[in-house]
């Protein structure tokens, strides 16, 4: 197990104590490869490239490792040997997300003309009902290791709830920043866990700019911003989606995955997780294709993919898929690389197609997805129609959130079949009796 001394000047663990984040050996720059000691840093000191966690992966045979995983808890901590967390992580208070259902979606497959097998990885089953619980849970352990006492983030939705809930349970103070004019429902979800919630007079960009200032100021001393100074650790949480999908398929790689793109981090980390499983011999080394899914109203990556560009040009988002509405996705270029390397693609669907896809998934599989789930299901349909996705193979589609959080998307077109007086005659006239 790697134990590293925190670099001087990182602002954490000033006492110079050691940091135990299990198999995490160092941070390495994704651009130039330079390595840094584990610490709350996120950009390469040489080239400003993003940092990611490098591991000493566990030794032992694949069967031994599978047995070790199977003996673990029914949450992401079963994969502790592959994550930047201490070995005893499961005994610490945390929100314990993961091991959500991989639903075999035979009804949906039939409607889409898929003759292979189709599975929906349904992350609405997480504690606060989105995949954000995975990444926040890892950030919590990094914050603990670095001696932070406050967890923070800027958010307009899922992340605020995930941070609030995890901080409450793990014994951190939380202070979350939101635009001041959010809908009341979202404010309630962010505030109910009892941490501090600060409305910022401005839009989401203003909130982000303010948070960047705060990180560099003594006022933010001791604060872990889960998706800024803890981002290299936070991002690793998405690897657990890859691990779970393969384990739930009986330690087999799917042939095709359809993954939503916001910043693009989730897609790149799922690819990283699949590569690790191949390297460790937990799954067969065979090709798989990764497809990225965007909303047309915020489709910088799919636009670049279709144009054959390596650079992603920012867009101003205008879509009902708010949780994917990042106009300048940090990991966009890496997503393009992965889609091209694996033989996948990046596609987008418009708001009407998103709503149709949410309803399609609900009426075929009983899963009520967030708009992001409508994006992946809608894109899957489109990819089959265009011939890019092979309907005879094994495909996994991600639903990363819960429809209860985006009721507005379907409300205008979802209502009663009929409204009648309470009488059998009225019911007969409505034509709804059994045929």
């Amino acid at each position: 197990m790697a134990v590293q001394t925190v670099q001087n000047g990182t602002g954490a663990n000033a006492a110079g104590t050691t940091v135990d984040l299990g198999p995490a050996a160092a941070l390495s720059c994704r651009e130039c490869g330079e390595r840094f000691d584990l610490g709350p840093i996120f950009a390469c000191a040489s080239c400003f490239g993003p940092l990611e966690v490098a591991y000493d992966l566990p030794s032992g045979t694949p069967d031994e490792l599978k047995k070790r995983i199977a003996a673990g808890p029914d949450n992401i901590w079963r994969y502790a040997p592959l994550l930047p967390v201490p070995a005893d992580v499961a005994s610490k208070p945390n929100i314990n997300p993961g091991f959500t259902k991989l639903v075999k979606a035979d009804n949906l497959a039939r409607e889409l003309g898929i003759t292979g097998s189709l599975h929906v990885k349904d992350d609405s089953g997480n504690p606060t009902h989105s995949f954000k619980d995975r990444v926040v849970a890892i950030a919590v352990e990094a914050a603990r290791a670095f001696g932070f006492t406050t967890l923070s983030c800027s958010s307009t939705g899922n992340l605020a709830g995930a941070v609030g809930a995890a901080a409450a349970r793990a014994g951190f103070r939380s202070c979350v920043f939101i635009p001041h004019d959010l809908e009341q429902g979202k404010v309630v979800m962010a505030a109910v866990y009892g941490g501090d919630l600060v409305g910022i007079e401005g839009n989401y960009d203003d909130v982000n700019r303010f948070c960047s200032e705060l990180i560099g100021d003594p006022l933010g001393e001791g604060w872990g911003f889960v998706n800024v100074n803890l981002r290299p650790y936070y991002g690793e949480g998405s690897k657990t989606l890859a691990y779970e999908i393969c384990e739930q398929l009986g330690w087999r790689l799917p042939d095709q995955l359809v993954i939503p793109i916001a910043s693009g981090s989730q897609l790149t980390k799922i690819d990283k997780g699949l590569q690790e499983l191949i390297k460790l011999g937990l799954v067969e080394d065979k090709p798989y294709k990764i497809f990225g899914a965007q909303a047309k109203g915020c489709s910088p990556v799919s636009t670049a993919f279709k144009a054959g560009h390596d650079v992603v040009r920012p867009q101003k988002p205008d879509t009902i898929a708010k949780s994917l509405a990042i106009g300048n996705p940090a990991d966009g270029p890496y997503v393009l690389d992965i889609a091209r390397r694996t033989g996948g693609a990046v596609e987008d669907v418009d708001d009407e197609q998103i709503v149709d896809a949410i309803k399609l998934l609900a009426r075929t599989e009983g899963i009520f997805a967030e708009t992001a789930g409508g994006v992946t299901v809608g894109v899957t349909k489109k990819l089959i129609e265009s011939g890019l996705l092979d309907p005879t193979l094994t495909t996994v589609v991600l639903n990363t959130g819960d429809g209860l959080k985006t009721l507005d998307a379907v409300a205008p077109t979802t209502g009663p079949t009929a409204t009648i007086r309470p009488s059998l005659d009225a019911f007969r006239d409505a034509g709804l009796a059994a045929s």
Copy 2:
């Protein structure tokens, strides 16, 4: 495995084929004990008492049965040998609820002065985020066995979503009846799964009366009303809460359970489940206490308990805990029996205490509960203060639903700590920086 012929005249399986509901041997009257063949009937032909499922419980040693359960899926079907479902139930399309988290609630225990161990059984992790998925999943299998093609219910909330989702996935048509003036959010949750949703011009009582008429009419031919003509099977789903709690405690009985009361069915079935586990030798035969929890605005059972009555006098509900607002609870007298037999109690809390308890659970454990969860947590607090619940023992508190479905309860008192301009000065003035 018991295979029974459906009674003539029950309206299902008119062809006289046999019904395989696994270990379910018969229906028996809870009042007079008379037995009936398995069928879609719910009241005793002799005394009109409620019918419940009688079992041929599995033979074999406790260790063999534990091993068989552990080898099952991570949902309620792992307990198929103890439920009215066929042995191959896990291979049929269903919503597969259960095996939700039993959260060790150390932070909440500390706040409540509990020195023993406190656990929250968090059923917000079910597919449609309430315990109703458990009972509906069993009703689906009964409906399949009896040849029904339409699933139905009257509902104002959780049940509508559970029926809609399960019917969609299991391949049934659904037709759910609601009062015509429900809030739009609840209508969306009921309608999104694509079944028929019928608004009835009237209140919830009118809806129920209409459904009773429909069951007796040819218009309702082939319809399974999950909580009426399938009620004996439906109710058994709540036993799985007992099984899971004990298995998750390492096959040990808790000393005390705090359970919400709507109709009272859930509480009586949890007791039935615990008794079965004792009988089968899966847990030690030792005393446990069952506490019932109501909202003061709908507290017919706690009122009767405190007055020492055996009869429950109906009340007109007026509480924010809508999912518990049954003024004339069918199983009220049985709840009184169980609370008295086990040495428990029935207590209630007012709306303000419910809201406080929702927030207490959220800020200590990161669990955002429905109002029903506020009722059980609030009652637990009150029972400790009054000395009826022993804080040195092992206690399990149920959260049966999700806070996202009852945002209105906490919205008026849950908001930002501060609203500021996006500047460090403004933030400093707000006094929220680290101390």
